[in-house]
Each structure stands twice: as structure tokens, then as C-alpha cells.
């Protein structure tokens, strides 16, 4: 048998000791799940670059093992996004003291995944046993906490929920295998913002897996701000099922991590369903940011849209892989995808792989991809009117990003994200 990567081997070595303290250890069902996850992970290992889906993202800086770095532990930063509903996870565990769930409407529950596992509630994870993705299998073996959000039929929450995943140190067992579950009943509406953050200099591996199921007519605005430490690894996997009349809106803003991947799969299973996946990534230095989407239209008459924009400075590397699948007979489907990258340095690069797998003939699909530098003519034009070079560059970068931020329906989140991007640009 071939050798496992060093990090995979540590996970195998660590499992026996770890599972005795992981949540749900008293539950045979949970234990069985963890064991099956470990077995699959052992067979798979972390994906190497020969695995087609990971061709552009080289995990070897992670898999050779994370070096703990000398960086002082920090304290929890105050949340910048203001909302009465805040759930906080510190170093991978729910922190009651730093959470304020506020008054949630009847029918809506927000609990910690660890408490669900400890209660032996493994039914949340039925689909897990067959998952063939290595990072998901690893998560199943080691999942330790996360949020579980359920909303009963017709439940509406007007204000956003903020979920914070904050890493305050980067030592010892420096992994965060978060497992999040979202279940929205018929016509329920919820807006959720996830923040993933860690202070620069802390090295750790965040491996969140989020499983979402919407029922008919439900709407989820699902936003994510990834601002992990500049020495951290962040590999996120999100799955969402979108049935008839449901609307899943996702927007991911990524500015952090040394290496990150945001993989989202939506399964569109009903008519008049809409999957809207958007995002922006702003990276510099040696950061690597991978966005991978898989959109599966499984029945006729529904829609998917995607707009992703990246701004890359220095030696940063971006990846966009977008697959749109339309199965036979899924007629009258529309699928649009756009990915654009702005390269602020000639060492920055982006790899783009759009994939359309269309097996129905009466569909409307489009994809566009571009990458380029700031328009020198436009820069000169602005400067020739008295606008200094730095401001002129900022105006053009702003203009590049503006329309993707417009995809965010929630106004508060939109202005929060606009503030973050503006701050990032201060350093351009």
C-alpha cells in the first residue's frame, strides 16, 4: 500500500485517542459514523494534484504537516457586524459565554452540533456514509462542533444571524473540523452570515462542512466572510439542496488564509428554484484561493446564476472551477456563470476551468471568464484630471468589484462587505 501523506498519517494515529473525547463518543451510531469516515479517508488520503478536481490547488504545504508557529494567543475580537443573534465558536468549540442568540422566532432553533451528537442525534448525518470526498470523510471522523439551524414551516427571521468561528491560537491540535447543518422548512426565510477568522501568524487547518436542505419555497441568504490567519489553511465544503420554489443565495468574501478552498455543490431538485452563488476574493502575498462550484440541474424549469470576482496582488494565485450539469430532460433550465479576475501584479495568476455538462437541448446556458490587469489607459485618463495614482487605482478596483457586491440582497451584509473590501484596498 502506498504511503499516506504525513498529515493523513497523524490523523490515523490520533483517531483512537481522539474519539474518546469527541462529542457523541457514547453513541454507537456516532462512533460507527466516525469509523466509516476514517476508513474512507484512509483509502482516499488528501487529494493530490492528479485528482482532476484538485489539479490547480496543491495541498502539499498542508499535507506535509502544519508547523505550529510561535505566535501569542490573542483575545476574541469584537464582532464588526452588528446583530442581536450571535453564535461564537472559539478554537473549534461553541462558546456559550461569547454568544448571544437573542430572541429567535418560535419555530427557529439554533444549537451546537456537539450537543446534538452528545444527545446521540446522528440522524442529521444520514447522507454522510457514502461521501467520497476526502476532506468530508476526515471531517466525519473528527467533527467536533458547529451550528445546527432549523426553521419550521413559514418561519421568518428578519435580522441576520452571525456565526463566528474564531481561532485564537495555532498550537497543538491545530485543526477545526466544524460540521454545520441547516434545515429550512417550507417557505421559511433566514439570513445567515458566517465569519471565519484567526489572527495572522497562527497556523491551523479549518475544515468546515456545511450541509443544507431547503424545503419548497424556502429562502436562505447564506453569506460567508473568510478572514483566516495568513498562515492558516481553510478547506470548506458546502452542499445545498434547492427544491421547487426555493431560493439559495450564497455570497463568499475571502480575504484570508494562506491556502483556501470554497467548494459549493447545489442540487436543484424542483421547478422555479434558484441557486445564486456569488463571491469575491481579495488576496495578496503568497495567498492561494480556490473557488469550486458544482451546480446540478436535476429537473426542468429552474435557474442558476454565478458571479465571482477576484483581485490578486503580489504572488497570489486564484482558482475558479465552475461546473454546471444539466441532466437529460431537465429542459427550460437557465444557467449563467461569470468569473473575472483582476491582476494587480504580473506575478499573480488565476486558473479558470468552466465546465458545462449539458444533456438537455432546450436550455439557456452561458459562461464567461476573463482575467486582466488594470486598464492603463483608464488610469492615465483619471490621473490626467488631477486624481492621484493611488486614488485612481482604487476607483478602478472599486468599479471592478461594485457589480458583484450588488448581488448581495441583504443590505447590512452588503455594506459590511463593502467596508471590508475598501479596507483591503487601502493597502493596495
Amino acid at each position: 500500500m502506498k504511503n499516506l501523506t504525513p498529515l493523513a498519517q497523524t490523523y490515523l494515529d490520533r483517531f483512537d485517542a481522539a474519539r474518546r473525547s469527541l462529542p457523541g463518543h457514547a453513541s454507537p451510531a456516532v462512533t460507527a459514523l466516525r469509523e466509516s469516515g476514517l476508513a474512507r479517508f484512509k483509502a482516499l488520503d488528501f487529494p493530490g494534484r492528479k485528482v482532476e478536481e484538485w489539479r490547480f490547488t496543491n495541498l502539499s504545504p498542508l499535507t506535509k504537516g502544519i508547523e505550529a508557529m510561535e505566535a501569542p494567543a490573542t483575545s476574541l475580537p469584537v464582532a464588526e457586524f452588528k446583530t442581536p443573534h450571535v453564535m461564537t465558536f472559539i478554537n473549534g468549540r461553541f462558546s456559550h459565554a461569547n454568544s448571544a442568540l437573542g430572541e429567535l422566532p418560535k419555530g427557529l432553533t439554533l444549537t451546537s452540533f456537539a450537543s446534538e451528537l452528545d444527545a446521540g442525534n446522528s440522524t442529521l448525518l444520514e447522507s454522510d456514509a457514502e461521501d467520497s470526498r476526502a476532506v468530508v470523510a476526515l471531517n466525519t471522523a473528527f467533527m467536533e462542533d458547529g451550528f445546527v439551524l432549523t426553521a419550521a414551516e413559514n418561519t421568518t427571521l428578519d435580522t441576520s444571524i452571525l456565526i463566528r468561528f474564531v481561532s485564537l491560537d495555532g498550537t497543538a491540535d491545530n485543526a477545526r473540523h466544524m460540521r454545520n447543518i441547516i434545515r429550512l422548512g417550507k417557505n421559511a426565510t433566514v439570513t445567515l452570515l458566517e465569519e471565519h477568522a484567526g489572527a495572522d501568524g497562527h497556523a491551523y487547518f479549518a475544515n468546515p462542512v456545511t450541509d443544507i436542505a431547503l424545503e419548497e419555497g424556502a429562502r436562505l441568504n447564506h453569506y460567508k466572510f473568510q478572514a483566516e490567519s495568513n498562515t492558516a489553511f481553510h478547506l470548506a465544503t458546502t452542499d445545498c439542496e434547492v427544491p421547487a420554489g426555493a431560493h439559495y443565495e450564497n455570497f463568499s468574501l475571502s480575504t484570508g488564509a494562506r491556502l483556501s478552498r470554497n467548494e459549493i455543490t447545489t442540487r436543484i431538485t424542483g421547478d422555479k428554484a434558484l441557486s445564486s452563488l456569488n463571491g469575491a476574493y481579495l488576496i495578496r502575498g503568497h495567498q492561494h484561493c480556490d473557488t469550486t462550484t458544482i451546480t446540478r440541474h436535476l429537473v426542468p424549469e429552474n435557474e442558476s446564476k454565478q458571479v465571482y470576482k477576484g483581485i490578486l496582488d503580489d504572488d497570489a494565485q486564484g482558482v475558479f472551477q465552475g461546473k454546471i450539469q444539466i441532466v437529460p430532460d431537465a429542459q427550460k433550465v437557465s444557467g449563467d456563470q461569470l468569473s473575472r479576475a483582476l491582476l494587480l501584479s504580473d506575478r499573480a495568476s488565476v486558473a479558470v476551468k468552466p465546465e458545462l455538462e449539458i444533456h438537455a437541448d432546450d436550455v439557456k446556458c452561458s459562461h464567461g471568464a476573463s482575467s486582466g490587469e488594470l486598464d492603463e489607459d483608464a488610469l492615465f485618463y483619471l490621473q490626467s484630471r488631477g486624481i492621484d495614482g493611488k486614488t485612481a487605482r482604487k476607483m478602478l478596483i472599486d468599479a471592478f468589484l461594485a457589480d458583484v457586491l450588488d448581488e448581495i440582497t441583504d443590505e447590512a451584509v452588503r455594506s459590511f462587505f463593502a467596508a471590508i473590501t475598501a479596507r483591503w484596498m487601502e493597502e493596495v
Binding site: D375, E376, Y381, L382, Q383, S384, A402, D403
Partner: protein, 247 residues
Amino acid sequence: MLEIKDLHATVGDKEILKGINLTIKAGEIHAVMGPNGAGKSTLSYVLAGREGYEVTSGDVLYKGENLLDLSPDERACRGIFLAFQYPVEIPGVASATFLKTAYNAQRKFRGESEVDAMEFLKLVREKTKELDIKDDMLKRAVNVGFSGGEKKRNEVLQMSLLEPDLMLLDETDSGLDIDALKIAADGVNRLRSPERAGLIITHYQRLLDYIVPDFVHVLADGKIVKSGDKSLALELEEKGYAALSAA
């Protein structure tokens, strides 16, 4: 105001300006005419400070200072304005934002307080009215989807707003209809004063009926080959540049 001495400039590896000498005093308007590819736009870009237009020898003094040391925005703030032959489209940047940013940048440079959105809007409205420009243009992205003539009017609008000391107009007349030409010329004439000067590049004598120049120069193959008063433009109109080089 402007002194150009034996100016040589290259674009890429090609020498385009081959020894230009030209002095423009405050209060004067100079017209520059000349065949396609002679280097007229190149001269205007060198004066405005465009990257890639390399001065290999010679000097340019503006208000007694070495102009070539200054960045394009510093030149603009010190009063140089170039109306582009081909104005640039800038998707995603609203015209109003652009104009206000430029206007305030120049005020700030002069140590004046910045104007707020309301005050600025009032000012722009005055100018758009003078120049017969539709206000909805301000909401659109800079030059995006503008017709050829609209782009040129937009250049004149910016110039009227920024009130430069040295106006450089590169074929602002091409693309303008007859009425618009007159309106644009009025815009330039309103700015004319004993403290200001202008360099007007054009192919057509007609513009010079409206903006009457003090001097007319012919630029051919990177050099000024002939200078005269406004009658030179009429003569060129009649005989063309071929007659000039034959003479």
C-alpha cells in the same frame, strides 16, 4: 507659460518627436495642424505625462518649472488639461463621481476646501446647461456607450469645470456636429483669458473660425515645419500639406 525646447520623444523604440521647439505665452492660442501620424497626439501625451512616451532629449518648462519631472496628476493640478482625441471609457465609474473626485482633488491641491455633493451638482448643472449636455449622462459610467460626439462634449465639460491654465485640445472638433462644434468652441472661448493659454490640434480650418488662434503651426514627421498666423490655416485648407513640402 510653456516652453518646449528641442524635444525628442520615442514611443516603443520609435522616435516620433524629432526636435520640437515651441513657446506659448499666457493669453495665446496656438493651433497645430499636420498630416496623420505626424506626432500631434504624441506631443499632447508627452505634455500630459502619459507613460510609455519617453522623452529622450530636450526640455519642457511650464510656468518656469521642469514639467517632465511631474506625474500626470501633478500636471493636471498645476493647470494642464488634455482633451483626448480618443476619450477613454471607464466601466463602473459613474461620471458624476469621476468629475467630483477630479474637481476636489484639484481644489485640495490648491489648498481649497472640498465641495460637497450638493454644491458640486449645482456647479455641474450650470456647465451641462451651457454646453447643452443631458444631465443623465452624469449617472452613466464615464464615456461608456457615449457616441463619438458625446465623448467630445464630455471632454469640454470636464475642461469647463476644471478651468485649466493650459488647454490642450486634441481634435476635439472631430465627431462634433455643426451646432455642437459651435457650443464646444464657445466653451473654450469662455475660458480664454490673459492668464490662460491653449494648444489646439485640429485638421480643419472650420474650428479656427470659432476659436481664432494667434499662431498656426504645421507639425510633420515629428517637427514643426512651418509657423504663421491664422492665414496659414486657410492656405493649408486650400493647398494641402503636399504643396507645403514641395515648396
